[in-house]
Amino acid sequence: MGKEIPLLWLPAAACTGCSVSLLNTTNPSIKNLLVDEVLPGVHVSLRFHPTIMAGAGDVALGALEETAARYKGEYVLAVDGAIPVGTGAGYCVMGERDGKPVTMEDRFVELAKDALAILAVGTCAAFGGIPAGAPNPTGCVPVREALELHGIATPLINISGCPPHPDWFVGTVADILLNGLPSADALDDDLRPKAFYGKLIHENCPRRASFDEGKFAKKFGEDGCLYELGCKGPITYADCPLRHWNSGTNWVIGAGSPCLGCTQPEFMSLPYYEKVTDVQLPAVGAVGQSKEAE
């Protein structure tokens, strides 16, 4: 079988949407990804993923703990969901030890410190996302903050999105297998791979010409730029306009709906259907604003 890369998937305060999105991967298919060799001689061995694994209860947790012990320093840890910490830690638990529930914070710390690398899958894991939305009732923090909190220095890659495109996850894993862990300049300030998050939605938007001409849709269903309807394209980094979703079928702006900014740390702090005004628009924004004032 060649070389095996053990992968553990830890679901924290998540909705499983990131997993469902990953299961939609088409090139390679999820079967190719999990059963076949991703690269010649290299096989990804998904040892723990509660949503798709056959075992349950102690059998499932046994696989998790056994893998972590046997492949210390060699396994990749994927986390979806934010992590409730401190007094909130009890809001997310999995399994028991000595009759007491084990918090996800404890599980994360145990697994994170001995991992080869951590993939924070989805905006909840990368930036806090949905459960960390104000007033953050359960004390959720993103993976990056949880690592800092516990003084863990394991390399981290954020694959944000609500959910992330399957290619972003598969592509990041393939890149690690081909070239090893990405260098610092392959990631942006938010630790996202520049290959997928390097450009603004706005830069490649098919409605960009309308923005530059100051033609704005005032109602849903109208032609023109969706900026006034709350589109977060001008502040959102992702390659959706080029990659499209559902194996290239369409994407959100192609269906006439504004971008929600789901790959961004601001995802939960800005109202979805209000114009973006309190953030620094890139220089191109000035064109639209001057047109608008006329």
């Binding site: 349950a56 104000a134 269906a255 259907y273």
Partner: protein, 115 residues
């Protein structure tokens, strides 16, 4: 009396624990526990109400459409539009994307209902 606990229950969305008490091979009592709480209702308070159908979808990533649809219908009622939707025809476009797939393709879903 034997106790059997399954935690986590797998192949579902979410974090679930099932505890059972078994006597002579028969389950006498059982209890289920949701092992994750996020407080989506608390997070929705004070937000633009139109955001509800986006955030409600994130209750469950396996069945987001049903939660988004329910939120959209609640908003129709809240805005006083619940009874103004054309008879026999429900157009879930009022909030732009009441039930959106990952590619946005069902952002403008028209459902024909037999009168």
């Amino acid at each position: 009396m034997a106790k059997v606990s399954i935690d986590p229950v797998t192949r579902i969305e979410g974090h679930l624990k099932i505890e059972t008490e078994i006597e002579d091979g028969v389950v006498k009592d059982a209890r289920s526990t949701g092992n994750l709480f996020r407080g989506i209702e608390i997070i929705l308070r004070g937000r633009d109400p139109r955001d509800a159908q986006v955030i409600a979808q994130r209750i469950c990533g396996v069945c987001p459409q049903s939660h988004g649809m329910a939120a959209a219908l609640c908003l129709d009622s809240a805005f006083g539009l619940g009874d103004k939707i054309p008879a026999g025809r429900q157009v879930f476009t009022l909030r732009g994307r009441s039930a959106t797939g990952p590619d946005g393709s069902d952002a403008f879903v028209v459902v024909d209902v037999e009168p």
